[in-house]
Amino acid sequence: MLDKVIKQKLVVIGNGMAGIRTVEALLERAPDLYDITVFGSEPYGNYNRILLSPVLAGEKTVDDIMLNTVDWYEDNNITLRKGETISMIDRRTCEVVTEAGERVPYDRLLVATGSNPIMLPLPGKELPGVIGFRDIYDVDRMIKASTDYRNAVVIGGGLLGLEAANGLMKRGMNVTVVHLLDTLMERQLDPVAGGLLRKSLEERGMVFKMPAQTQAILGEDRVTGVRFGDGTELPADLVVMAVGIRPNFELAKKAGLYCERGIVVSDTMQTYDGRIYAVGECVQHRRQTYGLVAPLFDQAKVCANHLAMKGFATYDGSVTSTKLKVTGIDLFSAGDFAPGPDKEEIVLQDANRGVYKRIILKDKKIVGAVLYGDTIDGPWYFQHLRDGTDVSHMRERLVFGAANLGEGGVSGQNSVAAMSDETEICGCNGVCKGAIVKAISEKKLFTLDDVRAHTKASSSCGSCTGLVEQVLAFTLGGDYSAAPKVKPLCKCTDHSHDDVRRVIVEQQLKTIPAVMRFMEWKTLNGCHSCRPALNYYLLATWPGEYRDDQQSRFINERVHANIQKDGTYSVVPRMWGGVTTPSELRAIADVAEKFNIPTVKVTGGQRIDLLGVKKEDLPAVWADLNDAGMVSGHAYAKGLRTVKTCVGSEWCRFGTQDSTGLGVKLEKFMWGSWTPAKVKLGVSGCPRNCAEATCKDVGVVCVDSGYEIHFAGAAGLHIKGTEFLTKVETEDETLEVIVALTQLYREEGWYLERMYKWCDRVGLEQIRKRVVDDVANRKALFARFAYSQQFAQTDPWAERASRGVDRNEFAPLAELELA
């Protein structure tokens, strides 16, 4: 682009978190589109307002909470006019007017004026010593007061009031909290949790006067006390009003923009004037105003998309969660927890341990949660709340949390606050808690994605994701930006997996570039996350028609072997149902010797793994195995892997059915099929379950009267027993149900989503209805699977070993002998 091109002018009023987050997101999407000018009344760069409480409490410094220093604005060619206030927006001429009278033109305007603390209209409210709690200036004044005076009164027993009171107490003041109602934090807590909170704050020395109405603030030259409705008085040298915030929309209102309780914006964050956008605490969206960080960030992202002229994102409102930032008190609340006739509650109360948990359900879904004392599972409940998960299948254990349901990961370790800095959080990448905390504070990280990018924690297997989110919550004091409700497929798009699958069908899209074009991918060729996903979706949607894109497959599926850490490969031939023969074993032994294969290992899936094969040897190794009648075991595939069996009625004195034979039958029918993630089967000949069928993706347990079909188990990252699907009487019915189930999963699962995750998301009942109860649907699913198998059941090894497919893949392009 030429330097001389005149850019559009974007003016931002407000240098707070919402405005700057929007600018950051805009720069990511369209770095050169605008000349950006930011006006901020405060004499600082952008800082993290939610961390003012720890600054007041002396746990952090002002420098710790700076998000964007003045250098950042310079580096990004943004004109920062700090300490300058805008007094008027002239919509007719498209200009803003500063207090000094200077007129600055805009093409687009972003209003992010935030909010002001509500100052109660009490007599004496203008006395020195009466302050709000909103910015660094307020905190400075409070810190100063704490060194000069003794008695503080905080009006307001909400989140902000309690954090202010705690900070002042830590600075040595006697603090009384005055609250109008009889429950603390009544917007976030129910009376029981409010009572527990009050008790533990009292134990720390905080004094409460509640319910109490403040009538006047007393004093001549400076505040000296407070008088209440009942006539009593309290001495006070400092009065902090923390009864709430009020969206700051005066400027917008004066300019004639439509405002109610805030500046009214549409789902695209536009005000009634299309050139003017608004984000943050000053806006009202679908009748809601927000005072927490996560929603502001959601809004910022949408607004940036529109400013960048990539007009596809919409903001649908946010569900928020809260955590009190008072060190040593664990409190979490989310969603709607007011009692109602259509709501059900699950409550766990253990007074001696100081633990209280209340989960509110409506229509089988979590709609609210209040946790006190043990908030480890807060993010987990919140995730289910936002996802609208059907939790009926885990209802009886729900209140005990994720670990109890086997979702806490293999370590089962999960009290983040109690962990030492050396505790390893991410076992895959060896990242310990201290490193994550350090990265979060030093690099100003807010989201899970940020932490993944900077520390690699939770970026491999993902089983520590919950823990990492807790470390984030713990480090940032709770108000971090949780992952969005609808997850985009990857960073190349804002569309979800479901959107992509739906559009592929609706629009008859049949190539990866067509999908990317139609859905306006943000990157040229996608990335290593989305390309394999799209390839699978197209393959599963258009069997026989879609041409598999090898370059969009992960290396293992491209070369039909598993890459090892040293760049060699491992080779696993199929052993149907785990049954082999002397001649197969002899052939494997011969191959291992002939190609100097260093390791031969028996796998957990009842097969044999040849490890350390050089890439260029693969076709020859396969040719020898093919000659002995063996084919690829797809041990590398997001597809059907193994069918583990026990010996069953053929040999075993307890066997009720021919489990081995059934396993072989299933494997012969299903091999070669691609699925969203790997699929492992097990068939046990009796309930002793020697094939461990009840922790497989699909498991059959034979009984005397027939076959029990189970599914959605896991014994890897998570340990989870299967769910019982149905019981049938014949092998043919077993095959039909399992194949139909797998096909439904192939059609609906998200790429890399294991069957148990899919079941969690969609719901067991939903699946049973379509696979078991609706017989016509079951048969249709079976037919679709069978159809696609025609194109899938070609041994990829034979194609490459003897039919020359992908020959280039296995040979070097050239061999150079340099001097």
């Binding site: 990448n429 990018a453 900077h454 690699k456 970026s459 491999s460 990157t523 040229l524 060729n525 996608g526 990335c527 290593h528 390309r531 394999p532 090898q550 370059q551 969009s552 497959r553 992960f554 290396i555 070369v559 890459i563 850490k565 760049g567 280039n808 070097p812 392009l813 050239a814 061999e815 150079l816 002998e817 340099l818």
Partner: protein
């Protein structure tokens, strides 16, 4: 002193793919982008030595197959916030033929 060596036809490298050139100093991965540009890098990820030639190519980047480090093909630099750099070698296409100039740094492997 750039001495160019002919290493093969452009069409022998798949679009958005890579082929390996063996040298006494170690393998060099030659990449082809969607728009038929070619780039050559040592076939070693700066992270744990993974073979970059086996990765997924997107735009002018490749993702290492071992731990998903993303490497810029033009510079060999890991994409932030990851850190590290892989040696690059000059490569060009003329009339459908790919030419490579091996920089001796590759000999250190």
């Amino acid at each position: 002193m750039t001495s160019w060596i002919e290493i093969g036809a452009l069409d022998d490298i798949p679009r958005l793919g890579s082929r390996v050139v063996r040298t006494p100093g170690g393998n060099i991965a030659v990449f082809r982008t969607e728009s038929d540009e070619v780039f050559a890098l040592d076939d070693r990820c700066p992270h744990k030595g993974g073979p970059l030639s086996q990765g997924i190519v997107h735009n002018k980047r490749v993702t290492c197959p071992l731990h998903n480090f993303v490497i810029e093909l033009a510079s060999g630099q890991a994409v932030a916030p990851d850190e590290g750099c892989t040696h690059t070698h000059p490569a060009k296409v003329e009339n459908g033929i790919v030419w490579l100039s091996v920089r001796q740094a590759a000999a250190v492997s």
